[in-house]
Amino acid sequence: MDGTNSYREGPDENGRFGLYGGRFVAETLMPLILDLEKAYGTAQKDPAFDAELVDLQTHYVGRPSPLYFAERLTEYYGGAKVYLKRDELNHTGSHKINNCLGQILLAKRMGKTRIIAETGAGQHGVAVATVAARFGLPCTVFMGATDIERQKPNVFRMKLLGADVRPVTSGAGTLKDAMNEALRDWVANVDDTFYIIGTVAGPHPYPAMVRDFQSIIGKETKVQMQEREGRLPDTLVACIGGGSNAMGLFHPFLDDKDVNIIGVEAGGLGLDTPDHAASLAGGKPGVLHGNRTYLLQDDDGQIIEGHSISAGLDYPGIGPEHAFLRDSGRVTYASATDKEALEAFQLITRLEGIIPALEPSHALAHVGKIAPQLPKDHLLVMNMCGRGDKDVFAVAEHLNIDL
C-alpha cells in the first residue's frame, strides 16, 4: 500500500480503498454525505461520544460478546480448535446493533429527527427499529417485497418496535432494491433524515464508519484470545453479504501478518450457476449505491440480482474495502453453497446447542472444509454474527418439514 506496510490506513481523503469506494451519488446527496463525514470526524475526536457508545454497548447490547470454545464442534472436525465469537448473543440477535447504535448517536448529534434504513433479512431493520425506539425517533425501513415474504418474524418485530416497514416492489424486491428506495427517500427528505446504512457499502464515509463501529468485534476477539490462549488466533472466518460482520472481525487483525483471514461469500446453487451472490468470485468492478466495488453484472453493465438461501447475503455487491483486500491478497475469499450452509446450520445446532442464522452458517460450512486439515493447536475464530430464530421457518421449508 503506497509505500507503507499497513492494510488499515484506508480510505484516503476521497473515500477510496485503492481503486474501490468513492462517492458516486447524485448531487442532491453530495452535501449530505460531506456533512456526515464532517460530523463523524468530530464525533470520533469527542470522548463524550465514545463514552456514550461504550455505555450502551455494555448495558444495552451486552458487550463484550463471549469468545466461546466450541468443544464438540472441534472434536467433530478433529483438527483446529474452533472458537465462536458470539455476536448472535447481542441484543436484537446479531452484530447489526453495533453499527446502529453508533449511527443513531451521530444522527442525534446532527439534529436529525427521522431515521431511514434498508434491510434484507431484516436483522439490520430490527436493529435500526430498536435504536429508533430507544431514542424516540420515527423510523422507516425499506424492505423488498420478496424479503418481507421470506422474513415475516422480523417484519413483525420491526412493526412492534414502531417502525414503518415499506415494501419495495421494484426489481426483484430484495436488498438491492430496498437500498435504491432508501436512497430515493433520502433525496426527497434531505433536511431531517438520517440514513442508517447497514453494511460496509454506500458512499464514503459509510464503508469506513460502519467498519469502525463493527470493529469492536475484532478488538474484543484480540483481547479475549490473548486471555484464553495467550496469543493471536491463526485463522479468522466470517460470512459476507455486504461484509460488515467480516470487516468488523478482520480489520483489527489486518496488519497481524500471521493471521490467516477468510471471507465466505454466498455460493447459492453453485458458482457454476447464475444463482449465487458471490460478487468477488463471480463479479467484476463496477459502480452501484455510491461506491465502486465488485458487482454481479451482465455484459451491458446491468446489475444482476444475487441469489442465496439467506436473505442477508443476496446482495449483488460487496463492501469496497473487501474488494481492495481481495485484490491486495491480504484476505482470502471463498464461498459456500445453500446446501452446505443448510447442513452446517443443522450440524452446529445439534452439536453445540446454538441455532445460527443462515448467514454465519455459510462461514461454518467453510470452517468444516478447512478445520479437519489443520493441526490441533491451530486457533480458528468464526464470527457467529446472528442467531437463527428468524430463519427457522425458511429452514423448515427447505427441509420439507410442515410446521
Binding site: 476521497n14 447524485a26 442532491t28 452535501p31 449530505l32 433525496v187 467484476k284 451491458d300
Partner: protein, 276 residues
Amino acid sequence: MTDGLTRLDTRFAQLAAENKKAFVAFVTAGDPDVTTSAAIIAGLPKAGADVIEIGMPFTDPMADGPAIQASSLRALQAGQTLVGTLEMVRQFRQTDDNTPIVLMGYYNPIYYYGAEKFVTEAKAAGVDGLIVVDLPPEEDEELCLPALRGGLNFIRLATPTTDDARLPDVLKNTSGFVYYVSIAGITGSAAPKKTAVAANVARIKSHTDLPVVVGFGIRTPEQAHDIASIADGAVVGSVLVEAVAQHLDAQGKAMPELVEHVLLLASQLAAGVNKT
C-alpha cells in the same frame, strides 16, 4: 473546456438570439422497443423539442421515480443496451444533424464499457452532451474530464442542496447548460414551487453564463410555461414515458397510436414552454 462548439452551444445561442426558451424532451432509449423508440425520437424535433435527452436504461436508476424506472425496465426487457443506444443516435443523425442530443444515465454501464471508449464512440455517433447522475464533481476524473477532452458537453445537475459554497465546484467543469433540479427528490415528484425555483436559478446565474434549464416535476404545458419563463428552458420526462406506458397492449407491445400520442403531448408541452 470543450473543443469547438457542440450542437447544444449552437442551439442555445440561437434560442437566446430569438428570445426563446428551450424545451428539452426526455425519453428512454428502446422504450418500449427500439423501433417505436426510434420513431418517437425522430419525431421530437418536429414536435418542438429543442434538445432531446435520451435515457440510457439502467437496472438501478436511483434518482428516478416509478415512471422512469418502469420505462428503463421495459427498454432492458426489450433488449436495449448501451451500444444499442449509441446506434439509435447514429441512425437519428442520418436525417437530423442539428438537434442536440444529450444522453442521460448512470455510471456503471459506461464504466463497464470503458469511459474513454464510450466518449469516443458517443461523439462519433453524434451525441453532444452527457448527464450522468451519480458522478458529482468529486469524481470528475472518471468521465467528466475525458468527456470534455473528447468534445462532449458534460451537463451537471445543481440541486436545492447545492449551496453557494459548493456551487463553484459544481459549475467548474460543467458545459452546454446547467440542469437545475427543481426539487430535492426524484424524477416525477410533486410540482416545484415557482418562486423557490426562480430564486435558485438567479443564484446559479450569478455564478455562470451558461444557460440554466430546469427539470423534475414538470408535467403540464402550464407548468412548463411557468418554469421556462424564469429560466432558459424546461425538461419534461416522466409524463412522456407515462404516455408510452399508457399506449401498450396487454402483452406490453406498442399500440399503433403510441408514437402519435407521445409526439402530440410533446408538441403541447413545447407550445407551453414558448407560450407568450
